[in-house]
Symmetry: none
Subunit: 246 residues, 2 copies
Amino acid sequence: MTTISPQGRTELLRPDGSPVRVLVVDDEQSITELLSMALRYEGWRIRSAGDGQGAVQAAREFRPDAVVLDMMLPDMDGLAVLGRLRRELPDVPVLFLTAKDAVEDRIAGLTAGGDDYVTKPFSLEEVVARLRGLIRRSGAADRRSDSVLVVGDLTLDEDSHEVSRGGDNIHLTATEFELLRFLMRNPRRVLSKAQILDRVWSYDFGGQANVVELYISYLRRKIDAGREPMIHTRRGAGYLIKPAVS
Amino acid sequence: MTTISPQGRTELLRPDGSPVRVLVVDDEQSITELLSMALRYEGWRIRSAGDGQGAVQAAREFRPDAVVLDMMLPDMDGLAVLGRLRRELPDVPVLFLTAKDAVEDRIAGLTAGGDDYVTKPFSLEEVVARLRGLIRRSGAADRRSDSVLVVGDLTLDEDSHEVSRGGDNIHLTATEFELLRFLMRNPRRVLSKAQILDRVWSYDFGGQANVVELYISYLRRKIDAGREPMIHTRRGAGYLIKPAVS
DNA sequence: AGGGTTTCTCAGGGAAATCACAGATTTGTG
DNA sequence: CACAAATCTGTGATTTCCCTGAGAAACCCT
């Protein structure tokens, strides 16, 4: 089921109305903390583990609806952990975290069951979106929830990556797409440049903060060009998106 | 009966609307896990067994609509297992898994009754497709469901392996065919290279991920050449197929 | 054995995306 | 109105990703 929280954010709930449960497994504490924060903010219940042992035990006790699993753990091989997790939780989808350059060798066969993966360093927007997709498709959350975000006459389909405004198709690059998704998931809410940077860019991004301005500019050209603007600047505070008819 | 799930995926159901049941028998646990995940994702109910004993017992209790049976089991000869299964489940189709170099004529005799076989190492796309075919033809699922995929003016017949666009017949190699089938079974959905690799190439494929790019390139030459393109690249995300007229 | 076909690796070229930089523009303030 | 701060955007360098030609190896059929 999808509900609208008092703050206007949408969150997934299980069919019985209880919050979705996610287990996060990574040996770097900074990563588990980062992810836990972000995923709790989505309205999910989070448990984390720092090694394979702990992961298996947490799986047994916590009965998560989805797992985020780093493939590089200190005590066990990622595949071994996966096997043990599968025995505990046969139908639970897994989102793998892998190093950028290790993608090809070990992921083979892993995403076949409908699992998914993201490479480190990731952006939170990416992780959250993938997890939402996995949970949605696994049936842990109500299947009626679909993959299309709508704000005014602007739509964004998370499955097909298609964006259109007033019927016109709009092509976006990967970064533009993620930025717009973040805005559209928080309509009518001012998002600071820092929030956007933390959420849309990967956690190790070391560049200039004005990339956000730059990408807002790109988005405006594609989405607001010649139309009633939907993306607004709140000087000194940030940006927000809302339907054109205010 | 064939239904379209909310996500746009098609899944087979039995005439009474309950999910199709499949028993997977293999002594390598990695294989049963891989298959279980993939087949569950098709919307089927799965039970697995690791030897002949377990298979016979599971057949008795679980009453599957189809069986995937490795012919190399530790405790019994494959033929013996088959015999015992047949006694339990006289009309249930069997998909055999055999080593590449196994004696083919023996298998050929077995498949005469409407069964089928796949050689190891297999691709999931292959197993799923064969299984769907067996189930469809056995009558466990509604027979009205047919074997032709259609996207725009492009059609692909899973039985005859014929592909045509706008009336023109197109010859595809085996790999090209499986890639196109996978795309067409997920129209308008972005599929990552990892997903494609996991699904279309065999589970032990250790090669370069750019075979996917290469085969996409081959497909384009045959399908999109001189026409409105149907295969699209989403840079940084993957590929998708959709009708040309958008 | 031999020719045709298919699968796959490798590597070069090219296009697209990302980002830094800097100057232009806007906005709010006194 | 003038100024400063904040924001916007044009330009181009760099990086990343994708496409495809060429050829080697495996396979298949006769």
